[in-house]
Symmetry: C2
Subunit: 497 residues, 2 copies
């Protein structure tokens, strides 16, 4: 049995019933969104302080096949409220979703822009949001999707940034790139590949080592489990035990009807697997967004939601089933706002436009993950051949599992980068299971790891609030100080160069 972390696996179980494969996704399509009502309110997007632009972008930067020079329009957002000519550009290297969603959840840039008189630019990643190279046909087949790669995305950023600075008549403006999660990987790699375009990168929660065999494959789920265990050993054990109860039900005749009732589903369940995935998603994403304040990233959640979940589990009367407790805990994730009367467990809404990650996982972004016996999830392995066969079946594409480490490195990263490169901050919160694939120790005097014990998935990028704990205020202050240093150095070089 395998955990179902991504849309990929929804298809997997529906179509192929091939078990034992697990791949990484940062935000699995915000799957299992509940109730149409909520889906409707989601579409009325918050008003963001950005102006929308579209840039004519080249389809393929790395070959000159006649089809490569086709142009498409890449979306980007600009805030120039604080901008002064010559001052820096703060560029967010967009990741696998609508750029507005990342802009809405990266208030940090708006918070710090006045100090630097910076222009803020959020660039949408090709094949996400409105940046569709082939319009509504963009996801049609490998012939169109083939152009969705991280290197093409970075070349897009390079071309767009260079053109933008020329149009601003401010070519000497330094550029600092920012990114979180996959966007953070892109920010770090961008500094490494395009140092002539970005003077530095703040890569938050960027698991650039989650490839090949750079970190143990079980580290992600071990880390989720550790988050729960640290709060309550009982909580961890209840969740760990719940899967067997669910598994046992799948052999019973009346199980689906009973489970539908217990899980308060809006429609009768067709498979116990859905219930498992639903629970599983709740625990993983709650660990990721285990923020110190109330927040609404994937879902509205209270401060330190893992702790809240475990309180729910621990307070149950004795005699309650483990599955019932796990359901109650998961309900915090899906219904903290108490607006749900029932759960659309099998009705998936991709409200942030994240589904392209499935293709990326089948090509470059092969991040194998397994669940060890020590984790609170059911054990699962990773079989590359099966995985490759499914990608072949779905897209007619073969993954290149060693390409990312060939193109961007990772092996002996400390030895390589301490002699090469500069001006990268890798920030990670240890509550975030992705941190295990991140850079957690300083590499050199200017390739710096900022690690917080209580931080979660790119918490530093969220808007500051009055309730932020001291360690978070301090983390952001350190980041601002380091960026200031990069810029001082850049301007000094410019004057004397």
């Amino acid at each position: 049995m395998a955990p179902c972390q991504s849309l990929f696996f929804l298809f997997l179980f529906t179509l192929a019933s091939v078990p034992s494969n697990s791949l990484a996704t940062f935000f699995p399509g915000a799957a299992y969104q509940s109730l149409l009502k909520q889906a409707k309110t989601k579409t009325s997007k918050p008003k963001l302080p950005f102006k929308t632009h579209y840039f004519p972008q080249t389809l393929d930067h790395f070959n000159f096949h006649p089809k490569s020079s086709k142009l498409f329009y890449q979306k980007y957002l600009i805030n120039s409220d604080y901008w002064q000519k010559g001052a820096p550009l703060f560029v967010y290297t967009g990741n696998e979703g609508d750029i507005e969603w990342f802009a809405a959840n990266t208030g940090f840039l708006l918070d710090i822009a006045p100090k630097f008189k910076a222009l803020i630019v959020f660039i949408e990643h090709r094949f996400y949001g409105e940046s569709m190279p082939f319009g509504k046909h963009s996801y049609q087949s490998a012939k169109t999707l083939g152009y969705l790669t991280s290197q093409q995305a970075m070349a897009d950023f390079a071309v767009l940034i260079r053109s933008l600075k020329q149009n601003l008549s401010s070519v000497a403006s330094p550029v600092v790139v920012f990114g979180g999660s996959y966007g953070g990987m892109l920010a770090a790699w961008f500094r490494l590949k395009y140092p002539h375009i970005a003077v530095g990168a703040l890569a938050s929660s960027a698991p650039i080592l989650q490839f090949d065999k750079l970190v143990p494959w079980s580290s992600f789920y071990d880390a989720v489990s550790q988050d729960f265990k640290d709060v309550s050993l009982n909580c961890y054990e209840v969740i760990k035990g719940s899967w067997a109860e669910l598994e046992a039900m799948s052999t019973q005749k009346e199980a689906l009807s009973e489970l539908s009732k217990a899980f308060r589903t809006c429609k009768s369940l067709r498979s116990t697997d859905s219930a498992r995935d639903w629970l599983w998603t709740a625990f993983v994403y709650t660990a990721m967004v285990n923020y110190p304040t109330e927040a609404n990233f994937m879902k509205p959640l209270p401060a330190y939601p893992v702790q809240q979940m475990c309180e729910i589990v621990d307070k149950f009367p004795s005699g309650a089933t483990k599955l019932g407790r796990a359901f109650a805990a998961a309900s915090l994730y899906y219904n903290y706002s108490r607006s749900e009367n029932c759960f659309e467990i099998e009705h998936e809404v991709d409200s942030h436009g994240l589904h392209g990650w499935d293709w990326q996982s089948c090509t470059e972004m092969v991040m194998p993950m397994t669940s060890s016996k020590a984790s609170m999830f059911p054990p699962s392995g990773f079989n590359y051949e099966e995985f490759a066969a499914i990608c072949q079946m779905k897209y007619g594409v073969s993954p290149r599992p060693h390409w990312i480490t060939t193109e961007f490195g990772g092996e002996r990263i400390r030895n390589v980068l301490k002699r090469f490169g500069s001006n990268i901050i890798f920030s990670n919160g240890m509550q975030d299971p992705w941190s295990r694939g991140g850079v957690l120790k300083n590499i050199s005097s200017s390739i710096i790891a900022l690690v917080t014990e209580k931080g979660a998935h790119h918490v530093d990028f969220r808007s500051g609030t009055k309730d932020d704990p001291d360690w978070l205020v301090e983390l952001r202050k350190q980041e601002v100080g380091i960026i200031q240093k990069w810029l001082n150095e850049y301007y000094a070089d410019l004057r004397h160069g």
Copy 2:
């Protein structure tokens, strides 16, 4: 009127008669090779101390279009005479021609391999020599040629090197890349883009700044002219004046017949342009290979051939025409070995398989060149629109003239690289006109420029001879010392990392 530096311009004048465009080529197809007899001897290649291998290589590393995963066989040469497991790999990043030719002219690697117990690898660049992705159809159209780019070539190197080290069971072996001319650009860029694969690069005669407006467009021909002027002002003035005499002939009725006689052509000339190109090539390439010892790179030539040419010019009896003297000087280039009874001025033989550079010039490698009034060549400009129109006509492709500087940088290179990157030697000889587009000053303690006043096009890469002057012996010694330092550092890091 424009100088005809490349095959490109041969076509240009024949087909389109569009003047005033000049683009860079390193070795323009060894055009104007004389006499079939010589062409025949050329094909019997010297026996090189290398074993030939072929590597299954991916057609397009940067997209996942179904056609991209096609494999082709990339040729590479190996010498393991001095190799000890764990010792370094010295990899030559092949350029725009048959790899054997570069291997035969890069004896430096064989000279220094014993000291380092290094494995020597010469990798052929895709679309040159035998490394043809579509066999004999490789040059058919932009649909096949489209995959001939520098980034694809570098990704080839990365994939091949990584695989090779695994097959050698020596993954911790450090790799140093070496390249001359375009291969030198690739070596330097490879260290910048793949620092996790190469610990350092020796880039000899690598004009990485010959793009966009990084250096004056007239610098190349100004430098050729300076080489001649430094030897003899009279020589410079005679050559400078010869073009007008040739131009004047083109209006005369009997000119071609007279010129054919004067130039001892095997067949009657069809155009005075051919004679101009023939002269022009001789002066440019003699400046490039103005080596301190007798050598046979493009052609057999004596030591310091520019000086020899000018002696011929200067010794002429007064009253001789400038054109006659220029012809006599050029004859040194074409007939130093005195084996030619006549010259095949319009019969071009591409004996080193260099013609793919024409495509590269029409896509990425846009290196605009003009001839200023100060040069000894007829004045010429560069009109981008005309140039682009010709590329469109020839290949159905539009050049991307700003792509190289976007992808690899170059603007404010000192400021960028003094804060980023390490372990690159840029070596240049000031006799080489390409040196004007090179890095001529140290950038940091480990990005080092080695400049010799009397050096010519990657002279340091030639096999050592007993006649080598002290400055050349010293230059190579410095290079070996720096490479030794990189390797010591690497091994120390490996022990302590």
